[in-house]
């Protein structure tokens, strides 16, 4: 069963639609810690404010996710869902993340190399330095384009599986064993995005 966590951070329709399109079995949209504990795969989508992830702690979902991951469930965070895997975000300093990866998410700098940098970072940008051992990005070539829309970004860490350049490098995908995240939107990234979802569904 794939549990898609609904924590009222935007629109889940596209993510669920993509999973159904790939014939994923038993996709359940849920807010229940029990459902998360019973899932062998967990997807945490999310667009919007990092503050919204506070609801995960309030509903007992943070602990449920932590337990499931420890028992080997596959986890995929998307956009804010990736950021939540880190220690937190300067967007909502009082709301801790899961802390699976070290570091804080920060806003894009207003200036980069003396030039003004627009934010949010919206549009198609490329995946670079894809780790050859990444299971999530299996079959995805360096330079493949995916769709982003965000103003905060996660730092590059040891578990980074691909970077993207916008005002310097940031983590576009992260992966350590069964814990995975993507800053881009696979549900909006045409064939490349569907490939990423398929890799996850077939794990």
């Amino acid at each position: 069963m794939i549990a898609v966590i609904d924590y009222k951070a935007g629109n889940l329709t596209s993510v669920v639609k993509a999973l159904h399109y790939l014939d994923a079995r038993e996709v359940v949209v849920t807010q229940s810690p029990e459902a998360v504990r019973g899932a062998d795969k967990i997807v945490l989508p999310g667009v919007g404010h990092f503050q919204a992830t506070q609801l995960l702690a309030d509903l007992g979902l943070t602990d449920a996710v932590r337990n499931s991951i420890a028992k080997g469930a596959w986890f995929l965070g998307i956009c804010v869902g990736l950021q939540w895997l880190f220690e937190g975000s300067t967007e909502a300093p009082g709301t801790p993340g899961l802390g699976a990866f070290a570091g804080m998410c920060e806003h894009f700098p207003p200036l980069y190399m003396d030039a003004e940098l627009k934010s949010p970072h919206v549009g198609w940008n490329s995946l670079e330095q894809i780790r050859p051992d990444s299971r999530l990005l299996r079959g995805v070539a360096n330079g493949s384009f995916v769709y982003f829309t965000h103003s905060w970004r996660a730092p590059v860490v040891h578990a980074t599986a691909a970077v993207t350049y916008y005002g310097g490098a940031f983590t576009a995908a992260v992966e350590r064993e069964n814990v995975m995240g993507v800053q881009f939107h696979p549900e909006k990234s045409a064939d490349v995005g569907l490939r990423v979802f398929r890799n996850f569904v077939e794990l």
Binding site: T13, K17, P120, W124, S126, Y147, Y165, S189, G193
Partner: protein, 256 residues
């Protein structure tokens, strides 16, 4: 590197795609769902569906058309026309849209921008601005509403800045002077707005050749550009257009 986006636009009336010249003279161009898929398959970076008569005739958005078009569409999908309340927007998102484009309703009640943004995120709200300036400088361009029928007395630059401050995620700027003329975008106006705001500006109105896109991404400082008539009648596909842009040194998503 972040690429410049080519956005295919479907102007829909009565469930069919149409394309007018300067907002009138409507020509039938096909089924919205079919055209949305074709555009995505042919390399469009996004698809926008605008129900161009919804505001004028007071009809709701064509949710069924949206649902059909969204079913197998895996690029960003924007819907505009007839979105007047946060509930209207919620219904459009539920039908499969990723973003809504609001125009007249945002002018009438600017807090609509933040109402939708607070539930669905700023990235889901595009404020569409229909601009007319004639021979005046870009700073004096005026905002029109109701499908380009009513002048508002608002200056485009002021409204763009207010829309951003109220939490718009992007601005879709249509030059009514250029729309449908295939004579090129209004680069001066686009640059004036793009330099004023931090959020992405989508240029619209006037696309007729690849050179026009090169111009609006360069001189016009646009982040994305919208085209309708250039695609519908087989002038070119997004893929062909992007190949020409790449040759001219514009960064685009290729292969696609």
């Amino acid at each position: 590197m972040l690429t410049k986006r080519i956005i295919a636009c479907l102007d829909v009336r009565g469930g069919r795609v149409v394309k007018g010249v300067q907002f009138v003279d409507i020509i039938d161009a096909g089924d919205p769902a079919e055209l949305a898929h074709r555009h995505a398959a042919e390399g469009a970076d996004e698809v926008v569906l605008l129900d161009i008569t919804a505001t004028h005739e007071g009809r709701g958005t064509l949710l069924e058309t949206v649902r059909r078009a969204a079913a197998k569409l895996f690029v960003p999908f924007t819907v505009g026309g007839g979105v007047r309340t946060a509930d209207d927007a919620a219904a459009v998102f539920d039908a499969g849209a990723d973003k809504v484009s609001i125009n007249s309703a945002a002018i009438a009640r600017p807090q609509l921008i933040s109402e939708i943004g607070s539930s669905f995120g700023a990235q889901a709200v595009i404020v569409a601005i229909d601009a007319r300036r004639g021979a005046r400088p870009p700073e004096d361009a005026e905002v029109y509403v109701s499908g380009g029928r009513k002048p508002t007395g608002l200056r485009v630059v002021e409204w763009a800045r207010e829309a951003e401050s109220r939490g718009a995620g992007e601005i879709l700027l249509t030059s009514m002077d250029s729309d449908g003329m295939r004579d090129g975008f209004d680069c001066e106006l686009t640059a004036a707005v793009s330099e004023l705001v931090q959020i992405p500006v989508i240029a619209s109105g006037g696309a007729g050749s690849a050179a026009h896109f090169v111009d609006v991404f360069g001189r016009g400082k646009a982040d994305a550009a919208l085209a309708a008539s250039i695609f519908h009648f087989g002038v070119t596909s997004s893929r062909e257009l992007k190949a020409q842009l790449a040759q001219a040194g514009v960064s685009v998503r290729l292969p696609c």
